[in-house]
Symmetry: C2
Subunit: 579 residues, 2 copies
């Protein structure tokens, strides 16, 4: 029987029991969002005793399904004030699933707010252990020292930002080589973990693959999905993602005039090429050493889009340079030096913060005059304030919206107080609908319409034309909610969108594991049901359609070079939820 | 004909024209709230070009009506995100009214955000004048230098906090002796003025009293009201307010267990007596010199509750020590030294910030560990950061809610992000209903149920009993909206609540000025109509009944000594708006 761990941080007790039956067919985001909806008062203070934090591997995580090592983390977000799910690819999720755990739930809050704890999870048990010796430790040191202390275990932890309850704090997981590099970064879930006094979780490595209920159905599905991934230009070995990583998008978005530059003032960055995935791959090749492209964030990934970026001497600088980070800490700050960008990502990983929120906060700080756009060294200096916990660090560490309010800035690119990612809504209208309407706050991964708008996946639409984008965004949001529940990486959808048998394969693996009889036609309705719950939670927390709006400046400031404002009408935005 | 000044800060033009007919029978809060409702997009950024700032004297301001020198300032608040009216007693309002101006409206925003301007208003004209020489100047120096430069004028200005667009920035007006001491303090209206590049307004002193339309009706009303004020124990010469100022409430609330102490942890302060109005009056008497009680904030006030607090050497330290300031910078910080409190008020007045929001922000900062409760010198040091504009100053200067979020504090006593004033809702249930439901954010002046709950004015209710308080709060909120529109000081309601002829007098002065035929029975309906507008604006800005809630901690933390939580049910809070 699948198990459920409940940790009560108020009385420091741990309960391991059978998973409640209502959650037995759920996983990932479907499980975390149902749980938060059922158990968390939407009006509670996100950092108070009444919020809960839940970790859940996906439905097929821990099986032989490809690219399925995702873990979903859920809570009421201290950044947005709404429901949050943020997922990450990591062996930690696979180990947890293989030990038979459906979820870990963290509740309550210790009386003594200074003490820190570690949760140790083994096949049969889970226990809390005092961990004050880890206070203030960066994620790198925390993962390394816990890896030494608890051999053959995977690690999850927060950095100093989470301990300080900063709302850009993420939750870190190890990659296969025990780098502190995989993050459930968005929405400040690290601050929730910090508010509960939980510094880290170690999970004994689960050895055996999970056996599906129906092995034949599962195997057939797995084969179709692997086949699809191996035959799509974006996901195949040697394909775009594998060869250049997600940063392959830098040049593409720059050409489309949709690469937000210098705090969303322009859509084209003159230094784009120097921070592109192509350039990164060249540098990695030239410098050799620890550097590599085609790195896997967890075993069993077919796509392998991660990378390790080396210093000039070949030593491991950081893993990994994603498109979002290269943009947020590069183009968004006017910085075209990839080594400076790598250093900033390393700092973010160590301090334990979301690279998107961090970069956008720095951009807003530059807007406020705290540094000049283009000054990478000044940006690094600002970023270091967060880890130090100086007053300026507490401003920046609470995100882009907070930084803007601190300094009276009007040009603040956030929705529901979460920073916009690397696609300019004024140049790519559909992704703006996703940013604006998803219950998660501005988030490209919530409904990645970039596929048809920019990449020609699932059709080819004019990114500047707002027409018809509402339906596309809604459908993508629904499919994503389903995929996030499976534990699959969102990138499998490049293949499943274009290749029907790959979609069948995805659904069949789920049926094989659960014994269900979903068909591809059910995906959207299953996803919409999760979205409905999330939306309802937000409404109960006080959100209205007024929270589904772009920042006002995008309505009256034209973005070069296309000189568009954001022109999707309010009525069209509201229509996303008319289903 | 009454005139309307419209200042366009985008193209730096000024238009003086006849008051629009729809506003001709309005004044004060009724006018500002109607105007903001009609002309400001509720979804605009409060510090962006689309917000508007309006100054409006009350209906009877500038006449011989007693205690009627109030000016209302309105805008969309950068602190709450909702509609805001904040009023102040000052000769400035009387002068503006006597020159025939119904309102000054400030619109738009200069391209060059660095430049500062001054608006000069004379009987026939108004003009913008460059005022970069005033950049960074405190309110004291600004008022003094403008008083020298523009003789026989009254002055309104912002301090450095407004220039820096901090959301606790207020708008300062001179008192009769040209002290920078009268504030429309709440809701961050000084930041709106700063965002428009307007540092100050000077208005030529209006010489002649306004002649009412119906002199007889007006005179009769005026006599009844003056008679009432002179015969009520709270408002009469030598009465409580006149002798001890509003700080007479310190001992009263402390005895009731409702004086919020050390960031709303307790309801009794052991040092209360030392910051009380009685003690203050003694010190003033002892030290002599510039010190005085019974000071009038504007000519023609019968109550005269203001004061000038002297230094030990008798020189003018600050005017004035109000109950709210003595509490927020005293008991709320655990500080019982009145000289330290006076110094903090002086800093607030100079930097241009709301003393309530400032004190509560400091309390939250102490909660976060930035200083020890009781350490007045540390509090002074923290307060000075605001004027300096350091990162810490930008945190504190954006208020209690912001400071709490910066440092991950859960015990944050705000509603709609505005700091709670000096009455603990857990010990005085009705005032909590006002804090929670008024469209203004936590504000005691929006519906002062303390009168019957604590002071025995208009009856005597048990402060700890939630029953029946909803109706009381709603009625008080309605009457207040009417009084705030007249330009009367709220303190006249001590008399009007207990003395029917005083109420008649108030209504008759309005009828005399406007030629209307209001009766005392119309007051509540007139007030409710203003409240409806304000509530609707907030709804259009995205507020729901979830914004009409106490901070969560007050629902589960019991307040000593009565050990009550805040127990007015949500349904009862929502019922306030069921009319």
């Amino acid at each position: 029987m699948a198990k459920f761990i409940r940790v009560n941080m108020t009385d420091l007790t741990v309960d391991v029991s059978t998973v409640p039956s209502e959650y037995s067919k759920m996983g990932g985001r479907g499980l975390t969002s149902h749980f938060i909806f059922n158990e968390v008062n939407p009006e509670c203070h996100p950092l108070g005793p009444n919020n809960k934090l839940i970790f859940a591997p996906g439905i097929v995580t821990g099986t032989a399904a490809p690219s399925s090592g995702r873990i979903s983390v859920g809570a009421k977000s201290p950044l947005t004030g709404g429901i949050k799910e943020s997922n990450s690819g990591t062996p930690f999720s696979q180990s947890l699933a293989r030990l038979g755990y459906k979820a870990i739930v963290i509740e309550g809050q210790p009386e003594n707010k200074k003490d820190l704890y570690l949760l140790k999870v083994t096949e049969d048990d889970a226990e809390l252990i005092g961990a004050n010796e880890l206070e203030g430790k960066g994620a790198y040191e925390t993962v390394t020292s816990l890896n030494e202390q608890y051999q053959d275990s995977d690690v999850c932890c927060i950095g100093p930002a989470g301990e300080k309850k900063m709302t850009m704090a993420g939750i870190c997981f190890n990659d296969p080589e025990y780098r502190a590099s995989r993050y459930s970064g968005r929405g400040g879930l690290g601050a929730v973990m910090g508010s509960k006094g939980l510094k880290a979780i170690v999970v004994e490595k689960g050895g055996c693959l999970i056996a599906p209920l129906d092995e034949d159905v599962f195997r057939a599905g797995q084969r179709k999905l692997v086949e699809g991934l191996r035959n799509h230009g974006v996901t195949q070995p040697g394909g775009t993602l594998n060869a250049f990583g997600t940063a392959a998008l830098i040049n593409v978005l720059n050409q489309a005039g949709g690469l937000p530059t210098r705090n969303f003032r322009e859509g084209v960055f003159e230094g784009a090429e120097k921070i592109s995935g192509e350039h990164m791959a060249e540098v990695i090749k030239e410098r050799g050493g620890a550097g590599m492209t085609g790195h896997a964030c967890h075993p069993g990934c077919v796509i392998q889009c991660s990378n390790v970026y080396p210093r000039p001497d070949g030593s491991d600088h950081v893993s990994c340079i994603e498109y979002e980070s290269a943009w947020s800490l590069g183009a968004n700050l006017g910085v075209d030096n990839l080594d400076q960008v790598a250093e900033m990502i390393r700092i973010c990983n160590d301090v334990g913060i979301d690279t998107i929120e961090a970069g956008v906060a720095l951009g807003v700080a530059m807007e406020a005059g705290l540094a000049e756009f283009g000054d990478g060294e000044a940006a690094i200096k600002l970023l270091k304030e967060i880890g130090k916990g100086s007053p300026l660090g507490h401003i920046l560490g609470n995100g882009a919206g907070f930084t803007g309010r601190a300094f009276g800035v009007v040009r603040i690119p956030v929705v529901k107080n979460q920073a916009m990612p690397a696609y300019e809504p004024r140049a790519v209208k559909g992704i703006g609908i996703t940013y604006i309407t998803t219950p998660m706050g501005a988030d490209h991964t919530a409904g990645y319409t970039i596929a048809p708008e920019i990449l020609g996946v699932g059709g080819q639409l004019d990114p500047l034309d707002p027409k018809g984008k509402m339906e596309i965004s809604r459908a993508f949001q629904a499919v994503t909610a389903f995929v996030d529940s499976c534990g699959y990486c969102l990138f499998i959808t490049f293949a499943t969108t274009d290749i029907p048998s790959a979609t069948e394969g995805m659904v069949e693996t789920v049926n094989g594991v659960l014994g269900t009889e979903y068909t591809p036609d059910d995906i959207v309705e299953e996803g919409l049901e999760i979205l409905r719950l999330e939306k309802t939670f937000n409404e109960r927390a006080g959100f209205t359609h007024k929270d589904d709006r772009p920042p006002e400046f995008m309505r009256y400031e034209k973005l070069p070079p296309h000189n568009h404002v954001y022109d999707v009408p309010d009525e069209e935005l509201d229509e996303v939820w008319n289903f």
